[in-house]
Structures are given as C-alpha cells and as structure tokens.
C-alpha cells in the first residue's frame, strides 16, 4: 500500500490503510460480499441481517455463537474469551468517549437513543445507553431516534469493530499498535514500513459459497476464485502489508515478486505496462506474469465553491448574488474534465454530472452531461452577458497542499480560467504544509474553493448528498456552506426512507438542484489499476470492500513463491 496506517485502533480507523488491517484483526457485525459489484452487504459476525421493527426504529441483531477473541495476556487466563453482544455496546460507546479521540462518532451521532446523552453525562462506561441493549449474550438490540436506513452499512465499517474491554483496560492507547480482535488474522508486528499478521487459528469455519459472495463467472473466472468454493478462509498463514510511498520502489519490489499484489499501478508505468486502456489489458510480457483489473473508485474528486465568500456565493446584494451564480456556472463551463482525466488519470476515470457517483446504486447515467462538457464560448458569453469583465472578476484562491503535482493541478486550473477571461494574476495558489492544515482551512471556511476527494463510506448516494446538506456546514462535511431549503427538505425526507424508487427519485432531484445552483465543479471517479501475480487467487479491491477480501486470498502451488506466504503490496 502507498501509506502506512497511523493507528490500528478501530476508534480512530478513519482511512483505508488502517481499515485494511483493522477488518482483518477485528470482526464487524456486517461486511460486504467478496465479489458482488455493486457492493452488497452480508452478515459477518451477525447471524443474519437485522430484524427491523415496522417503524424502522428498533434493530435486533443475533451474533454468532462460539466466536472467540484471539488469545492474549489481557484475558484472565490468557485465552481469548467468547465475543458477546456487550462487546459491541462497549465498542460503540468508545466512539462517544472523547478520551479516545474518536473519529467515527459522526455515523451514529443523534441516531442511537441515549448515546449522545451518555456522552454528555461524562462517558461513564458503567452507565447504560438506552438505545443499546444486550438482550442476551448473543442478541443485540439497537433503538434509534429516527429511522436510519444506512445503519446496517455503518456496522460494516472498521469503526464499529468489536473490541474487548479487557484489551482496552490493559493496553490503553497502546491498543493502537496491538490489536486484540476476533478477525481472520492476528497481528505479529507493526511499524512504519510494514504490518505482519498471521492466521487466527481460532477463526470460525465458514466455507465459501461463491454464489452468496456475488460471483460472476463471466468477469471473474480468470481470477481462479472457483478454487475457493467450499473451503474456509483464511487461506494463507501469513499476511504482510508493505507500505511503500515511493512508486519506483513499489514497482521494483512488486516486479521482483516481493509483493504478490500491487495496490495501484504507478502512473509512470502506464504506457510501459498497458496494451490498451479501454478495456484495461496488459502488454504480452506483463500479461504472462500478472492479472490486471481496472476498478472504478467508490468516490469522486470535485471542487466546491464556498458560498460563505461574497465574491462567489451569498451576498447581501441580491443582484450581486445572482451574478455570482453566473460566475460559478461560467467557471463550471470552463472546466476541462476531459483534459483532467487524460492528464492525471490516464484517461481511465469516469467524469459525470452531479454528486451521485457511478459506484452508487442510485447513479443516473441518463443525466445531461452539459455540466462536464467544456464550453469556453458559452462561459465567456455568460460572463459577458452578466457584466463580468477582466477588471471586476474576483480573485480566485486555489488552495492545495504543497507539492509538485498540486502545483500542476493549479496551473492547469488557471489555464482553463484564463481561457474564459480570467487575468492570470486573478487566479492564485495558496499552499498548505499538509492535509491537516488544508483541512483546518476548509473546516474554518477559509478558502473560497474547496478541491477535494471523497470516498464512499457505504454504497448509498446519501453519503455524497450529505456533503451539501445545510446543517452539515463548516466545520461539518458541507465545505461549500451551501444552504438550499428545498434541498435540505428533500434530504431530510429521504434520509429516513429505505432504498426504493421513491427515494432514488428524491436523490435525483437533489442532484439536479446542486447542478442548477452551480455550487460545485463535479466530478470524476478515478479508475485504479490493480496488478497481481498469476499464482495468486484474488480479486483485489480498496474501495468499499476494503481489506475484507484479504481473507479470501490464496496462492496456487508454484515453486517461485512459498505457498504459505502472501504479501499485500
């Protein structure tokens, strides 16, 4: 992988790197079918999907019996005890204990009865939470304050992984480097360069049912996964994650065979390795050694206009506010998605109108592509018709983290704006030392343009639609600080609806409002190219499925690679 996790404690497992390890060390109640695309939930530690009360407020979940945590000195006799419903309640409480610097609370905040009150009362673990109840050791009841259709999906996230209280009490913050879970693997070592895990010998026996995992022979037979049918994962004894930030080192290491799977093909190797981009195929010398798969990102890259800035957004003068909208629309027209795709994403990305990404089940492929089709003449005319001149155009401040690539992003953006009439000096870059610093600027509403990426937390367009929900304004996820009463009403209406054509229709209306208001330049989903050695049975993924696929990795017996060794590169 191209980065190392900063902690392995589920309470802070906010990024893909941490989650790759966390979901292999810990159990979550739900996970995703290994091979189904679009992604589909499945029970993991839960016996089945929740039984939901008719009012949608009470979820009853049964846990599998006989599942044990790994053996660890934190337990009384050193032997891992059985996982029970109280472990889930304890783990969720941890997300609401400020001492843990939790990062996942936003998923359940205001949703689970009594949880916010429990936190307000001092996060005392001895006190119960009214909405979380263990009916018995293997039955859990969750009561909601209002219907939350995405609840089951949140229980497939690393944040909700079940942590034993004994481990937290013994290791404290040290749990971040010493996971104690009931997942398919247990940690052997962890440092900034790699994580080593070994098979959890007590992991439950659950034979693979390819049909239940969403297997599609037409597109997935090449991977050899049919050999897994009827066998119980994990299949390898040892799992290694090598964290290699430098693409040249990553490529050399992979081609030498030190990693069996390369997470993402480096951009500088594209022309050398690929024979064609659509479909993604390898040149013969590489095709003989590697499998390849081009997977569309479950997320997108976009640039939001910060409506707090009177130069672009809301303005006390209604006429200026009207003209501001024309300015934003002109900038959207001037944006060249095709060039961006070719320059940065090998021409393999999929750019689309609006904020419902192609990986969402609610994606609408029939939507007009006008907002992602460059129209320089139209942009110039729009500016001219509304009184914008080189003299009165506002200065555009484009914030980025420091780096060559980011500078090039900016230069390209400036060139596009110059094409529609912006003077060069009116498009300026502001750099920040790192992601934390630019995040601070976004959260404090200090940048007029917010260029960022968003990865889906679950396969539901609600996850991107909430990015423009008024009450989520800064420091929340609505960096645009856009407030549209109609949009907010539709969001609130849809947020309690189970998936249905009616809900999808509401989503599409909201999407159209974002487009009509010209509130963001959006968007593109990138394609990641995965490579893995021919002797590896796998269908890699680093999107919503994340690290869940690693327990299904197996190796064909081949002298070149030890059959007991798998390394996630």
């Amino acid at each position: 992988m191209d980065q190392a996790p900063t902690t392995l404690d589920p309470v802070q497992g906010s990024n893909i790197y941490a989650n790759f390890v966390i979901v292999n060390a810990y159990d979550t109640l739900y996970s995703y079918q290994y091979l189904a695309r679009p992604y589909l939930l499945k029970p993991n530690l839960a016996v089945d999907f929740p039984v939901v009360s008719p009012d949608g407020l009470t979820y009853t979940i049964r846990l599998k019996k006989g599942v044990r945590f790994v053996d660890d000195p934190c337990f009384a006799d050193g032997r891992g005890r059985e996982v029970v419903a109280d472990d889930f309640i304890y783990s969720l409480k941890r997300q609401f204990d400020p001492e843990n610097q939790p990062q996942g609370a936003w998923l359940w905040q205001g949703r689970i009865a009594g949880l916010d009150e429990w936190k307000a009362a001092g996060s005392d673990y001895a006190q119960p939470v009214t909405g979380l109840r263990a009916i018995d050791d293997h039955t859990l009841e969750i009561r909601l304050t209002r219907p939350y259709p995405q609840l089951t999906a949140t229980l497939a996230q690393g944040y909700s992984a079940l942590v034993p209280r004994e481990a937290v009490e013994k290791y404290g913050k040290g749990l971040g480097v010493r996971p104690v879970g009931s997942g398919p693997f247990r940690l052997v070592s962890y440092d900034t360069a790699r994580v080593v895990m070994e098979r959890n010998p007590n992991y439950r026996q659950e034979p693979v049912d390819l049909a239940a995992e969403g297997y599609n022979p037409a597109t997935q037979r090449f991977s050899g996964v049919e050999a897994l049918q009827g066998r119980s994962p994990p299949f390898v004894d040892r799992l290694e994650f090598n964290f290699i930030n430098e693409s040249s080192a990553s490529w050399s290491s992979f081609t030498k065979g030190d990693e069996v799977q390369l997470t993402v093909l480096p951009i500088e190797q594209i022309d050398r390795v690929l024979a064609s981009k659509r479909p993604v195929t390898l040149r013969p010398e590489y095709a003989a050694r590697y499998h390849v798969y081009g997977g569309l990102e479950a997320g997108f890259v976009f640039t939001a206009f910060n409506m707090d800035y009177p130069d672009f957004g809301y303005n006390p003068d209604p006429e200026r506010e009207r003209r501001n909208k024309t300015l934003r629309c002109a900038m959207i027209k001037g944006y060249d998605w095709e060039a961006r795709n070719d320059s940065w994403y090998f021409g393999l990305g999929e750019y689309f109108p609006g904020i419902i990404v192609p990986a969402s089940p609610e994606f609408d492929p029939s939507l007009s592509r006008a907002s992602v089709t460059r129209d320089v003449a139209g942009a110039r005319k729009l500016l001219q018709d509304n009184g914008w001149t080189a003299e009165n155009l506002p200065t555009v401040v484009y914030g980025t983290t420091a780096g060559t690539t980011e500078r090039l992003f900016f230069e390209q953006f400036r060139a596009w704006l110059r094409d529609i009439g912006f003077p060069r000096e009116k498009v300026v870059q502001k750099t920040y030392a790192n992601f934390g610093d630019i995040s601070r600027a976004w959260k404090k509403s200090q940048l007029p343009l917010v260029a960022k990426g968003w990865g889906l937390d679950y396969p539901d367009a609600e996850n991107t639609l909430q990015l423009f929900y008024g009450p989520n304004a800064s420091p929340g996820s609505n960096d645009a600080n856009w407030k549209n009463p109609e949009y907010d009403r539709l969001y609130e209406e849809s947020s309690v609806m189970q998936p249905s054509p009616e809900r999808t229709a509401l989503y599409h209306r909201m999407n159209q409002i974002v487009l009509d208001d010209c509130v963001a330049i959006t968007g593109i989903s990138r394609t990641r190219i995965y490579l893995w050695h021919k002797n590896v049975i796998a269908v890699p993924d680093r999107e919503i499925l994340g690290g869940f696929w690693l327990k299904y990795v197996d190796l064909l017996p081949e002298p070149a690679v030890s059959p007991t060794l798998a390394k996630g590169g």
Binding site: W106, A249, S252, A433, D437, S439
Partner: protein
C-alpha cells in the same frame, strides 16, 4: 580530574543551549507546525468535537504551560504516547538501533574510504589520479541523492537489473540477512558521502602538506610514510575529529530519511519525517530534545578529544 571537571562545566554550560533549542523548536511546532486536530477528526465534525480534540491534545493550554510540561518531559525522559498509541520511549527504543546499524557502515566506510582517496589525491596532487578522484567526487556531490538511491535500487536489486539484493525491507535477524539488506543502502550513502568527505579531507591534507615543518622534514630526508603519518595526518586530526564528531547526532537521531523511506526501513528518520508531516508532537519533542542533548555531549567529547590528540589544547 581536569577532564571530568571540564566535562561537567561544559555540560552545565550546555543547558542554555538545550533550553534555547527546545524553546525555538517548540515555538515552531506550536505556531507553524501541522495542526493534528483536523487529522484526528471524523469526516463530519461538530465544533464541540473540534474543541474536545484540542483539549485532548493540550492545544487549549497557554504556550508557557505547554513548554513547561515539555521541559518536565525532558527531565523525566517521558514524552508520552505517539499518535499511533505507542509510548514514545518504546518507539525510540525500536527505531534508533535500526537507524544506527543502518547508517553506521556507510558512515564509517564513507569516512575511511574518503580519507584514503583524499590521501591519494593529495599525494598525486595536480596529476591525473588527483583529477580523476576529484572529478568522481564532484559527480557524487552533484547527483541528487534520490537519483542515486533509485539508480542503485534498479541496478543492484530489481529484476530489471542484477537482482543481487532485496529491493527494500529490513531484516537484521542474522549477519547474512543484515548484510543482504544493508548493502545497497550503504553503497548509496557512501556514493554521495564520499564526494563531500574526499574533498574535505583532501583540502585539509593539502594545506598541511604545504606547511614549513613538512618541507623541513623532507629536507632532512625523512621517509614519506613517516612524514605522512606523523607530520601530516597527526596535524590533520583536529579538523577530522570535528567533521566526524559533528556528524554523530545526525547519524544517531536524524537517521536517513530518504534511505529509510525508499528502502522501507523502520528507523528513526522515517518516524521523524512522519511525525513532522502529521504534527505528532510527542515524537517531535523527543527527537528535538535528544538531538540537542546529544549535540551538547558531542561538543564536550569533541573538546576532550582535541586535548587527547593535541596536548597544546587547554581545557579551560
């Protein structure tokens, strides 16, 4: 006794240096360093959650109070817990030895080979061996360290090259493994260090060779080897010691960021870099303090070594 008194005196005199370095570094961390708050927040934070994280990190405390806490940590050598959840002391105990055994071979060989090449260049000063050595030294200094690392990696380690060593990683569980993993980083380090070391040593040696006492020794007909060892090298020892000694804090604490990053070696250089990027203040505070303390120790030891090699030097 004189040396002990001197050492204690110098160590006491080093305290203001440590205070100064830590104060400036801490001010830089607090006012210009990355703000970890926003990396620790969830995707959709509330103002209350931002406040909670700032309180957890101690960012809400006055600067002076935070600095005093820092000084207390230096005295007790307890820098708390890194952002990973690992105690900083454990992190340092894990990473510093790795950096030491990673860098030491290149450090020692770089100086020894550099000295030998410098001697050869100085001996044949102005002739082709001198020009050749200096030309190679300039190349070593001119090529980016990054290019050297990537070049060595491709040529010596990758399947497109000679494929003799591991591309990256670290394993020092046996001498064989250690040699296998340390060779390419050492060669890369040496290639770059040699240029600087050779030029430095050559200039010192050449300067010494032109002194009157060397000319007089030659006039007396002393053998060249004796002149070299007793009249030239011995008199060069003070600048040599200075160069070597002042590199030690860098070797011990700074590690080798690029080497560790590109070769995937879990040393202190990589840990420090990541702490800088993420704003992991407990780790940064520990590294800054240790570097300052080590620097003071090196200054003391340096002066004592001066006295050892040159009795004319007084320890006052």
């Amino acid at each position: 006794m004189e040396i002990l008194q001197y050492a204690l005196r110098k160590l006491l005199a080093g305290l203001p240096l440590i205070l100064g370095v830590t104060l400036v570094s801490f001010a830089l961390m607090v006012y210009f360093g990355p703000d970890m708050t926003y990396q620790l927040l969830g995707k959709n934070p509330t103002p209350e959650q931002i406040l909670e994280v700032r309180q957890q990190l101690g960012y809400d405390q006055p600067f002076l109070q935070r600095y005093l806490v820092f000084l207390g940590e230096i005295v007790t050598f307890d820098f708390g817990v890194a952002s990973t959840g690992e105690p900083v002391a454990t992190l340092l105990a894990k990473t510093i030895p790795v950096s030491l055994i990673l860098i030491l071979p290149g450090f020692i060989l770089g100086h020894v080979v550099g000295l030998l090449l410098a001697l050869a260049a100085a001996y044949w000063r102005g002739s082709w061996p001198d020009k050749l050595i200096m030309a190679v030294a300039v190349i070593g200094m001119s090529v980016s360290f990054l290019i050297v690392i990537i070049g060595f990696q491709i040529v010596l380690s990758s399947s497109d090259g000679l494929d003799l060593f591991p591309v990256r990683g670290w394993n020092a569980s046996s001498l064989g493994n250690y040699l296998s993993y340390v060779t390419v980083p050492t060669l890369a380090t040496m290639f770059v260090a040699l240029g600087y070391d050779t030029r430095f040593y050559r200039s010192v040696i050449v300067e010494e060779m032109t002194r009157d006492h060397v000319r007089t020794s030659r006039a007396f007909g002393l053998p060249e080897s004796r002149i070299l060892l007793r009249n030239i090298l011995k008199n060069c020892l003070i600048p040599f010691i200075t160069r070597v000694m002042f590199s030690i804090p860098q070797v011990a604490i700074g590690g080798a960021l690029l080497i560790e990053s590109y070769f995937g070696i879990p040393g202190i250089g990589k840990a420090t870099y990541e702490a800088i990027v993420t704003g992991d203040q407990p780790v940064l505070k520990a590294v800054v303090s240790l570097t300052a303390i080590l620097f003071v120790l090196v200054v003391v030891l340096n002066d004592i070594l001066y006295r050892v090699v040159d009795p004319r030097v007084t320890l006052k």
